[in-house]
Amino acid sequence: MELPAQTFRVTRADLVQYAGASGDFNPIHWSDRVATTVGLPGVIAHGMFTMALVGRAITGWAGAPDAVVDYGVRFTRPVVVPDDDQGTEIEVTARVREVTEDGLTRLDVTATCGGEKVLSQARATIRTTR
């Protein structure tokens, strides 16, 4: 079963706010000068910010903010965030892989940006009964 797609817009302002809230001030997430020096096309989103947005999609599908019991991803491609008001967009979809007898649902999650997968092996287990 496919779950309804969810999209998340990401701007430079979001990255600055996430840097402050998370304590991750790596300049590749706010300085084009530093990002291009290390070979990136420009400022990229924190992988953990992408993972957090995908986490919102997962709790959204679960219908509960405290339903996630296991959540893992591999970061495969950076999310480049241009310095404009539109930023970029991450689209998240998921397929139900398994529903267990003890009330757990296992999801295979896909996250794309500009049509390219930015995560692989993204999986979550959510508790679907309280």
Binding site: G20, A21, S22, A52, T59, P65, D66, V68, D70, F75
Partner: protein
């Protein structure tokens, strides 16, 4: 410099307790756009059976990232942090983190290897309360890019 594979299995002493604040959870939830009232309103969290506001699923990384400096900055292991790329991340929760938790992190190096000139480091951080109650196990894989 290749990473020393003999560090596999090494466990570090528990970190100093991290006090999870209600405003920190609200700040983090706001930064990721998580508007569910249980992240912001203690009464909404209590209605779900939690003592105080509930942290979003990836919040524990705020704590484990700081704790993992124990490993990344271990001079004996010798990781060049400027070459570190975050490869994988996983959380396995016993329960969600909530405001008021006092959490300690116990870091273990699960794997250290060098392949194709790159270093690979897998860490596991067991996050528990100061009373010893397990809360979440957190795995991270890092790639230490080799010199070009």
């Amino acid at each position: 410099m290749p990473l020393d594979p003999s560090f596999t299995g090494r466990t570090y002493p528990p970190t100093a307790p991290y006090q999870v604040g209600r405003e920190k959870i609200r700040e983090f939830a706001t930064a990721i756009g998580a508007t569910d009232p249980a992240h912001h309103d203690p009464a909404a969290a209590q209605a779900l059976g939690h003592p105080d506001v509930v942290a979003p699923p990836t919040f524990p990384f705020v704590i484990t990232m700081a704790a993992s400096r124990q490993i990344i900055e271990d001079p004996e292991l010798g990781v060049d942090y400027s070459r570190v790329v975050h490869g994988d991340q996983r959380f396995a929760y016993t329960r969600p983190v909530v405001a008021g938790d006092e959490l300690v992190c116990t870091n273990t190096i699960e794997d250290v290897s060098t392949r194709g000139g790159h270093g690979f480091l897998t860490t596991r951080t067991d996050v528990s309360t100061v009373g010893g109650e397990p809360v979440v196990a957190v795995w991270a894989k890092y790639v230490v890019r080799g010199e070009a």
